[in-house]
Symmetry: C2
Subunit: 224 residues, 2 copies
């Protein structure tokens, strides 16, 4: 049996991954409109796997399937951004509490510490791109490690949606000093198994970000 090292993903998975990646990076612009056939040709496959991928992406809120008119990339309105962040806030606070409540594996704790360390390095060198990536990974770890798989799944989805917005506004944000400090404090609380503190700090962090977000939305040219 010749099984070389090459990955064998299904067409549907490929389509899903490619489209989601393009949407997150705004290579497919918010509000842009596509026909099934267009995307099928773009991805080098037939309409069938494209449709299946589209159904998933619609469920996750990245696409809208407009009956008889193909797909539209979900627009980021101000309201949408606010709503997404509100949901993410309450899920992440819960995750932080849970994470600190469980006995965490040393390896996992290290992953968290590493992510914070990378955020520090990126902040030092003023690399907004790298900082956003490390921060994204920190938040991902927070929710994935919390021990509730259902929470992790849904929170990850909202995190991705929030990440899309963030990538659009990288250059507009103030130097995120507080994030690093807060995240380090959360990790410390996790290490000490102190759920209340973890929760409180993360809540404060999220509230601060919510205020910063309001300012940001004021300055942005987004539909209401």
């Amino acid at each position: 049996m010749l099984e070389s090292g090459s990955e064998r993903r299904s067409m549907t998975e490929t389509a899903y991954g490619e489209l989601k990646r393009k949407i997150l990076r705004s290579e497919l612009a918010p509000g842009a409109h596509f026909l099934e056939e267009e995307l099928a040709v773009m991805l080098g496959m037939s309409r069938t796997p494209v449709r299946e991928a589209a159904v998933r992406l619609e469920q996750e809120g990245f696409l809208e399937i407009v009956p008889r008119r193909g797909f539209r990339v979900t627009r980021l309105s101000k309201r949408t951004v606010r709503e997404i962040n509100e949901v993410l806030e309450c899920l992440e606070i819960q995750a932080a509490e849970r994470l600190a409540a469980r006995r965490i594996a040393a390896d996992d704790l290290k992953l968290l510490e590493d992510a914070v360390a990378r955020m520090d390095v990126a902040l030092e060198s003023e690399d907004a791109q790298a900082w956003a990536q490390a921060d994204y990974e920190f938040h991902t770890l927070l929710i994935v490690l919390c021990g509730n798989q259902h929470l992790a799944e849904v929170a990850k989805n909202f995190l991705d949606k929030a990440h899309r917005f963030r990538l659009m506004t990288l250059q507009l944000r103030a130097k995120p000093v507080y994030s690093n400090v807060n995240h380090a404090a959360v990790v410390e609380a996790v290490r000490r198994n102190d759920p209340q503190t973890a929760q409180d700090i993360h809540r404060a962090h999220k509230r601060r970000w919510a205020r910063e977000l309001s300012d940001l939305l004021e300055r942005l040219d987004l539909p209401e």
Copy 2:
């Protein structure tokens, strides 16, 4: 092809609705295994719309698509039930707070009051089935009216999953007197625009339910 009255739904929507209904009612048992062709025949359509519906149901956590082995109805393990309720708890508390914070329309307030009234009637006549339905509608209203569409969507999904469990355990539950009282108090807080009270009461309600759930899970024959 037969045109049955006013139905204008697509096959995919029909398949989605039917399958979900059957799963919620345990007409398709947890853990049961089906081939695409079976379900297609059962629903009187081809595999294509069945597959699309299945993709949606898998996203929502009601089905698992087992590569090359068709679909499996998601099992309700104790862990799953606990996880779902934890997520629902934090989303609903947020919803209760938000709902009380906004200026609510008189019509919408009436809907909430009606739901509670129906719960009271059902409790009085000891109709567990009707009570569960009214309670489900109350929780649905709570999250749908909260003003955050993204929260509403995801919370509704978790509510449906929780509802599946509840329908399986109707006869095992104690007389839910506290639920009615608590829900009435939440509605009152909403009417008075008192988000803190709404949140506190609903949190207490959810915590009580979490404890009752633990007991229930002890007595049930579910996989861990």
